[in-house]
């Protein structure tokens, strides 16, 4: 009886949210128009790439993955890190954090969309993606790490969609969410967040023929950097929400996230140092890729400016986030976030994926420089991700703050405590 009512009510609820997402101030329309324009440029570049082939990219048989997979890897970290707000909220009972966990989960959803799009644009035959569907296609599970990645990423998307959808829907109905319908999934999402980035690391570290990636430290490094970018993004996002929606967001969550970053930026630098020690102190051919990355090799230095920029940004963010003044001035905190975000983006991108291929397995030095097509598609996907995030946050907040609720009566179990839930 109740279930059949939800069958009708839930789509109606989604419809209202969607319609609402097209309402907004001139700022909102401008923002969305700009993002749409960038996304369209990306879509057009992608259509050309699909028709004319991936020769339009800077990739080659020597460097067979480039900007797309680099951004995919970074996006997985962002998605994993976004959910880390859940740990203080639910494991350490930090109640102020409860208000912002949902924001983190919405960010995770948007980031997973971005990741999936980066995978699609990197495929030579995206229309054959159905070959990946277990049962219909030939899913090479559990042998291929890529199949694990497909499972964990899609699973993560579903878990987070469920948590966000359920909590917002209940608030919309004016009911108190039932713990058994979301709490197990919240804890699952913590475990799952670790798994998405670990599996993504195993994708690379499991390849014996690529010494640069073949390191047991890769997964911990991925997790550490995820715990930098997730909080960094959310810190800035929360302030944007506070500014544009007037929603009261306390200093508590910002402070907690800053504390997380204080630990993770140092941990990340420490692990980078550990890898450099092993490479350079031992030397030999195993250090070739690291040498190429940091100092260039045989007259090739395409990655040298990238990696030193990343190191400089990461060190600068570590310094700024530890300044006592950063506790008082929010602009310093934002600066630290921006530095850390950009630093990790380069480190997980040009600093991780490309040097895995240079030199190649036969020790040929073929360099990679992304083409304009690749940059357009990359920008388009990130713009699309920001659109998803904007719409998600925009429709979630009015429901959470009680501005939007089911207009019709007839839903019993109304609960005055509903506002304190989540």
């Amino acid at each position: 009886m109740a279930a059949s009512r939800h069958l009708l009510d839930y789509p109606r609820f989604l419809g209202r949210l969607l319609w609402m997402s097209t309402d907004g101030s001139w700022r909102f329309y401008t923002w969305m128009t700009v993002l749409s324009a960038i996304a369209l440029v990306g879509a057009n570049a992608y259509a050309h790439q699909l028709a004319e082939g991936m020769a339009l990219t800077g990739m080659s048989d020597h460097v067979s993955w480039g900007l797309y997979i680099a951004n995919f890897t970074f996006g997985v970290g962002l998605a994993a890190g976004a959910v880390m707000m859940v740990i203080p909220a639910y494991l350490y009972h930090d109640h102020e954090m409860h208000d912002v966990t949902l924001i983190g989960e919405l960010l995770a959803v948007a980031a997973i969309f971005v990741c999936l799009l980066f995978i699609v644009v990197d495929m030579g035959h995206p229309e054959r993606a159905w070959h990946l569907i277990p049962g219909i296609g030939r899913f090479n599970w559990p042998i291929s790490m890529l199949t694990w990645d497909v499972v964990v990423l899609n699973g993560y998307l579903l878990i987070n969609l469920h948590i966000c959808g359920y909590l917002i829907y209940m608030r919309f109905l004016g009911r108190k969410p039932r713990k058994q319908w979301y709490l197990p999934f919240v804890f699952l999402s913590i475990f799952w967040a670790i798994s998405i980035h670990s599996v993504t690391a195993f994708l690379y570290s499991g390849l014996g023929g690529r010494p640069f990636w073949n390191s047991a430290l890769l997964a911990p490094r991925f997790i550490a950097s995820a715990f930098i970018t997730g909080p960094a993004f959310v810190i800035v996002l929360l302030q944007a929400i506070r500014r544009f929606t007037g929603l009261p967001i306390g200093e508590g969550p910002l402070r907690t996230l800053m504390s997380v970053m204080r630990v993770t930026v140092l941990l990340n630098l420490f692990m980078l140092g550990s890898e450099l020690f092993t490479a350079f102190y031992t030397g030999g051919t195993h250090a070739t890729a690291v040498r190429y990355l940091f100092f260039g090799s045989h007259g090739h230095h395409a990655l040298v400016p990238w990696i030193w920029t990343a190191v400089a940004l990461n060190i600068a963010s570590a310094v700024v986030v530890h300044l006592p003044a950063t506790r008082r001035h929010v602009w310093l905190l934002n600066l630290a976030c921006a530095l850390a975000f950009a630093g990790v983006w380069i480190e997980k991108g040009m600093g991780l994926i490309i040097p895995g291929f240079v030199p190649s397995t036969l020790h040929e030095l073929v360099e990679y420089v992304p083409t304009v097509t690749e940059w357009k598609i990359t920008a388009g996907i990130w713009a699309f991700g920001l659109m998803v995030l904007t719409v998600a946050v925009k429709v979630a907040l009015p429901v959470l703050s009680g501005q939007l609720a089911a207009s019709h009566a007839g839903h019993g179990e109304e609960n005055p405590e509903a506002k304190q839930a989540t």
Partner: protein, 301 residues
Amino acid sequence: MSDTVSRRTVMKGVGATLGAAAFAHAMAPLTEWTQDLSVDQFLQKHYKELTRDELTRVLVHLKEETKRKYGRDVDIQALPPQEGVSFAYALNLSICIGCRKCAEACHQENNHDRRTGNSYIRVLEMEQGSLDLEHGNANYDHPVPAEGKYYLPVQCHQCDNAPCVKVCPVQATWKEPDGIVVVDYNWCIGCRYCEAACPYHARRFNWAKPEIPPEEINPDQGYLSNRIRPQGVVEKCTFCLHRTRAGRLPACLEACPTGARVFGNLLDPKSPIRWVLENKRVFVLKEELGTRPRFFYFFDK
């Protein structure tokens, strides 16, 4: 009030229409892509699941497609592995002179893209006294053999524990009973994970549609080997299985002017490959990775 609401709704409608038109315009190049995409091909099953009838239809379809796209009548067969045959290759580094005739023959035999001059074989010019690939050079451009150098041709090693097969998410690549690692070009999704996994740089991706003049096309083709590959899939050396499964030798072996190349059936005691493995001191590349290649190298002394 209702006036402003309706104005806003109208504006939304205009915005949505403009957006949809812009999107359609942006995606217009796709019409070219969809022309090459047939329903049959889209729905085609994995090679291993095709019945005999289905396979026949697929081969006919592929021949017609080659005629349409490349203007040449070709014969595409799907020769099965023979019972009691397990292929292996050996290469004598003492007499290889680095002339790259093998790579050239591979290029022609396997209908490689002419624009990129692709080949499944890379020949490294190595420093005498070193097996370290870091001291090799694949882009030498001078008379061979050069003083103080030796030459190391590398192609697919048809590993028994193949990293490429392991990582493929859709089983588009697998090892055949006669030891050859193949790719179903109609099943590969083009993720290139196999290319990242291969320690021997043995795989190639079709970054664009291969270009090849009709008169240069080798019409003797195999479904799993040298038929002209579609854009966006990975390909590799198959020990020329369209030849070797019919009792002939690989094109690279026939092209070698010094006789450095030895090929045969491991299960046949009289085959030359057995003689090499029993009488020479052989080694494989990157043995420490545990890939167990069936491509062996040896020196005369």
